[in-house]
Subunit: 274 residues, 2 copies
């Protein structure tokens, strides 16, 4: 673990990341000493810092730190947190706050291979995402909604429901994302993904799937999606940088058993990673 370039596993209790969740983060997959899609992650980090009015650390600096992390941990999950750093009392950010850079590592989670091939069961969470255009798309550190939704999923699992992901609707009733993933529908040969201009996190794996669709001449729609439409889709699948792509085989009363488009996209993304 590195904090501002120095080996360490702690930060100040006056860091705004702790005080206000005033920061952003990235979760990267490391394979053979290489962080997959680093340029996309850095672009997203820049974008998110701009949305919060934060200084984004220099790419060369972050790359040098990432190399140190990868030298020790060539395979697994690398997490980068960038906070607005320390400042005096009060919510107002000071113009001269230097961002805090935090790197952490964890082994790759032990997901069953069938998740990618056979699909997963998903649970519709009762928590509704709040609408906040100023924070929409940004992977910031204010993640209590995800925590509450994940707790709901935990409860469902304790009650015997074998759901591997929870899906979230927003306050307007539209389907937005999973607790830790983005969502796609396949319907009549088109790829559809929820509009994230009011809430949700736009992950880089979502961007990769969208790029794949455009490169392969598949019609792509980014728009509001209702749960009912998802239940009637030919396929649905979730994506993130750690799981890759998992089809959904069961949601509410609906079951799916074939995921030809999801499989094609998953293979396409895997080939890019290889």
């Amino acid at each position: 673990m590195l904090v501002n370039g120095v080996p360490g596993n702690s930060i100040s209790i006056r860091d705004r990341g702790l005080l206000y969740g005033d920061g952003v983060f990235r979760t990267l997959r490391a394979v053979n000493g290489k962080a997959l899609h680093w340029p996309l992650h850095y672009l997203k980090l820049q974008h998110d810092c701009v949305k919060l009015g934060m200084t984004c650390p220099d790419e060369a600096l972050l790359c040098a730190e990432l190399d140190k992390v990868l030298a020790q941990h060539p395979d697994g999950v690398v997490k980068l947190i960038v906070t607005r750093g320390q400042s005096g009392r009060g919510y107002a950010p000071s113009a001269d706050a230097a961002p805090t850079r935090i790197w952490d590592f964890s082994p790759i989670p032990d997901y069953p291979a069938e998740c990618a091939t056979q699909g997963i069961k998903a649970h519709v969470c009762s928590l509704r995402l709040s609408i906040q255009p100023r924070l929409a798309c940004v992977k910031h550190l204010n993640r209590l909604e995800n925590v509450l939704a994940a707790a709901e999923l935990n409860d469902a699992q304790l009650h015997g429901e074998q759901a591997a992901e929870g899906l979230l609707l927003d306050a307007g009733g539209y389907l937005i994302e999973g607790t830790r993933s983005n969502l796609f529908l396949v319907a009549q040969g088109r790829l559809v993904t929820p509009d994230l201009s009011r809430c949700g996190v736009a992950g880089i794996q979502r961007g990769r799937v969208m790029a794949w669709a455009l490169q392969h001449g598949m019609t792509l729609q980014v728009r509001d999606v209702e749960l009912e439409e998802a239940l009637q889709a030919d396929e649905i699948f979730i994506v993130n940088s750690v799981i890759g792509l998992w089809p959904i085989r069961e949601l509410e009363q609906r079951h799916w058993s074939h995921f030809p488009v999801a499989a094609q996209i998953r293979h396409g993304l895997d080939r890019q990673d290889a």
Copy 2:
């Protein structure tokens, strides 16, 4: 500064307070080695922990820690943060996570005495609070909306507007609170404060003002308030545990110069503190 009862000024980078803003906090005023209204603060802490499904630390334990802080810093602002502690990767809280207890201290801010007697100018922020009933009232660590609103207020000050607080409307257009305070209106002898069941933070100073009104036979209404109604009120004022009570003397095009009810309530609260 104390972290889990031990002098220190850092926490683990794996603490959920940093990772997700998964925790709550209290800001207390210390006077002559005594924390004002500790029983109210502890009740609120318990309430907030319940809303997040977190274990609230035992009161005796917190009191012992608070005494240590007050022995060193008898006068000023004491901040207590309680996070859900550490747990494995992922949003889901583990049932056995032990909360992290963080105490910090800062001197009393150097506010001009006229703020309380002459009133302040307030600015209406353009940021709209998002609606999330699951988190409403709770003083949790997901405070990016307050940060963005305070940044707006900063900008207004840089452009010459001498506003000392920013007022926030919610996504539905109702007036909710200040960036770091709760809000009251006085109209036709009645005291009105915004309903916080959809968003906002219910501070303990708000509760004290409400209790004062009931004890003094003043009609109290907790309901939706529009900005227009505030602009037509006989008086408006903001409260929190550090500033106490400040009347508003200027908001948009409206000016106020007399605050008899606000002054009466301020004196009433001050007498309870003495």
